[in-house]
């Protein structure tokens, strides 16, 4: 199927955040991903116009004890830097997203236009993965900045066609009055075009992440 059609279909069925994993693939590829959990969910799809640039759409929901954000956004992703070594890869990414967000907090329910940058740094080898990202998200005089730190490892290397399992610890914090850090031990599976994760945070809430490159 034509990649443009796939991209459009994904956009049409897009329904629901904010956090990104391995964010883009190779030139002319379409990458679609979704995460579903109690506190944040999203669906996004992007098209890589080069190995450094992609455009996409993201629909997401992010909530805490006293707030809920629902956003629909367009984003531009730029790979600012990549250092390729024989056994490692280091990346610095800049996401710039713009869209509309609905904020429900206490008795208020308001819509805002927003512009939100995210900076992400990641480092990986065939056995080790680490990531740190920070999103600046200010709406309605409120600060909803989100910071993520992730790290993990794989017990063994796999060949190109085998599925590689990983164990990671993901932490995530959105800066609000009632903010707390969410810790999510996660299992990751990578098999070529398919990238899946299953995690359960310390409150017992499960999360699922799926990514596929066409």
């Amino acid at each position: 199927m034509n990649k443009g059609i796939l991209f459009l279909i994904t956009l049409l069925i897009s329904h629901k955040t904010i956090i990104y994993a391995a964010p883009m693939s190779f030139k002319d590829s379409v990458t679609s991903m979704t995460t579903i959990s109690k506190n944040y969910s999203y669906l996004e799809s992007s098209y890589a116009i080069s190995s450094k640039d992609s455009f996409g759409i993201n629909i997401n929901e992010n909530k805490g004890d006293s707030y809920k954000l629902k956003a629909g956004e367009f984003f531009y992703l730029r790979r600012l830097m990549r250092v390729n070594k024989i056994n490692s890869q280091t990346n610095l990414w800049l996401f710039t997203s713009a869209g509309m967000v609905n904020v429900k907090k206490n008795i208020k329910d308001d819509d805002y236009l927003f512009l939100s940058p995210t900076l992400q740094f990641d480092y990986e080898t065939k056995r080790v993965f680490s990531l740190i990202s920070h999103q600046i998200m200010r709406v309605g005089n409120q600060n909803y900045d989100t910071t993520k730190i992730e790290g993990g490892f794989s017990f063994y290397e796999t060949t190109y066609n085998e599925t590689q399992p990983w164990i990671l610890l993901k932490t995530r914090k959105t800066k609000t009055v009632d903010s707390k850090t969410e810790y999510t031990p996660t299992l990751r599976f990578i098999n070529k075009s398919l990238f899946g994760e299953v995690g359960v945070n310390l409150d017992g809430d499960p999360s699922f992440h799926l990514m596929y490159t066409f």
Binding site: S25, K27, R79, N84, I86, E124, E157, N161, Q164, F195
Partner: protein, 106 residues
Amino acid sequence: MFKKKLLLVTLFLSMNIYAQTQRIEVLGMVCAFCAQGIEKSFSSDENIKDVFVNLENYFVVIESRDGKSIDEKYITTIITDAGYDIQKIEIVSDSVSEIREKYGAN
């Protein structure tokens, strides 16, 4: 002495004329999810008969259909468009299927 040189030159030339498999050492190729872009791009090229990605040893081998080497500038474009860098490209005498067999069925 002249005969030896002639023999070496002939051998060198014949390798380049008949060689059809190129081994590309790739920098940064650490996961299959990322490396699939290389395989997909080469596989979609009708001039390329076979592709083999080896993550363990960080290389890709490609074999052309017409027995001629694939242009190195084109190879470099494919690899860099997938987000990687090239350390080395060399011509090898084994076919892709022989290399695949040598390194296992991965």
